[in-house]
């Protein structure tokens, strides 16, 4: 069982008996309470409120006793008339003062006495300095048109392909002598020196027949 009932139901049971509730309200009530519980609680709540009437009819104590305790802490605020009364002038003195005042007024009025002093015109030049503060706020709207910028990026790829020669070049053929006449250049070309290329260095003298023959003749 729940520890407490919802505020909505609690408000309903404070005011209405179960029969006076609408269908929706009855359904709401039945989620948390039985009909008997609701009606019992309603009776208790209603009778408790009625019971308060007996206490409500009793008059509170007079505030005078409290004011007496407070004493000087509480200030008595009085009206202007009460303040005048509080001065408490003797009646005869007030009467005499009143008569004297009345007599003076009558005296000045009777003699046509002008209490207004002579007016001497005086020109006073006043230097006025005006200070004007102007505060303006301008808002400028500027329209800016721009053409779309087209950037074309072209990439050229260069691929180097190295192709090796079919036959190796002899070192001599590459190294051309400096003082060779132009007509003898062809002699050193690769195509015309196959025999030289065929000769291997370190060849024995005995292997060359012509050379041996020459040596023998000598």
């Amino acid at each position: 069982m729940k520890d407490s009932i919802s505020e909505a139901i609690e408000k309903l049971l404070q005011q209405f008996p179960y029969e006076a509730l609408s269908k929706a309200e009855q359904e709401l009530v039945l989620r948390e309470l039985t009909v008997e519980e609701y009606q019992a609680y309603h009776t208790v709540a209603l009778q408790t409120s009625a019971l308060a009437l007996s206490s409500n009819s009793i008059a509170p104590p007079s505030p005078d006793a409290i004011k007496k305790v407070l004493g000087d802490k509480i200030k008595k605020q009085t009206s202007a008339l009460q303040k005048i009364n509080a001065v408490r002038l003797p009646l005869w003195l007030a009467t005499v003062l009143g008569l004297v005042g009345y007599g003076l007024v009558q005296f000045f009025q009777g003699n046509n006495y002008s209490a207004e002093p002579a007016i001497t015109p005086e020109i006073v030049q006043v230097k006025l300095i005006d200070t004007i503060h102007i505060h303006t706020v301008d808002t400028i709207y500027q329209k800016i048109y721009s053409e779309p910028q087209v950037i074309t990026k072209e990439v050229i790829k260069i691929k180097e392909v190295f192709i090796e020669r079919a036959t190796p070049v002899p070192p001599m053929a590459e190294k051309k002598p400096e003082n060779i006449p132009a007509d003898q250049v062809a002699y050193y070309s690769d195509a015309e020196t196959p025999e030289l290329l065929a000769q291997k260095p370190g060849r024995s003298v005995g292997a060359d027949a012509e050379l041996m023959e020459l040596l023998d003749n000598e």
């Binding site: 609690e10 404070q14 009606q39 609680y41 009778q47 019971l51 008059a59 505030p63 004011k67 509480i74």
Partner: protein, 184 residues
């Protein structure tokens, strides 16, 4: 309240006129219908209000502040009495109870007397909650502020008290009787 902090008598009179009756009856209900005790408490309350006017926080309702002071005074009184004899208060309630409108019928008169007895028998914390809700007609939120308790606790106490009193008065509850009659 500003004038009261300056010690204005006019302000004091105005507050007294507005709240004295209500607070006196509140004490009367909580202090077992003892009229003299309620009058003393009411006087002390307004003395405290005058003296503590500076401590009043404008963000709260004045009546809530007033009820908070009053409830604390009652709690202190309960503590002072420690274990009040319920029978004494029951007798007091029975003798001092006067219905200003006169008894409507005998059944109701008896029912109300029993209800008063049941209320007086309650634990202090439950009685305070219950009276604030159903006799002073304060909202749950206001009660939680006055008693400095969470809303859930107040709801729980009210439900508990309703149930307890309904059970105590089961035989006198006209609706229960009617149901029993129907069942028979």
């Amino acid at each position: 309240m500003h004038l009261l902090t300056q010690g204005s008598e006019v302000a004091f009179d105005e507050l007294y006129q507005r709240y004295a009756h209500k607070m006196h009856s509140y004490f009367h209900k909580l202090l077992y219908q003892d009229n003299e005790l309620a009058a003393d408490f009411c006087q002390n309350l307004f003395l405290k209000v005058f003296e503590k006017a500076n401590s009043y926080n404008n963000s709260y309702k004045f009546s809530t502040w007033l009820y908070t002071i009053a409830s604390n005074m009652v709690k202190n009184e309960y503590r002072r009495q420690q274990n009040p004899t319920p029978t004494l208060f029951i007798q007091q309630s029975q003798t001092t109870h006067i219905d200003p409108q006169g008894p409507k019928n005998i059944d109701q008169e008896i029912f109300q007397k029993k209800l008063q007895t049941a209320l007086n028998k309650l634990e202090d914390k439950h009685r305070l909650c219950f009276i604030l809700r159903y006799q002073e007609e304060k909202t749950i939120k206001e009660i939680s502020e006055i008693l400095a308790c969470p809303i859930g606790t107040i709801k729980s106490r009210i439900h508990y008290t309703l149930k307890k009193i309904a059970e105590d008065l089961k035989l006198l509850n006209p609706y229960t009787n009617r149901n029993e009659r129907f069942n028979q």
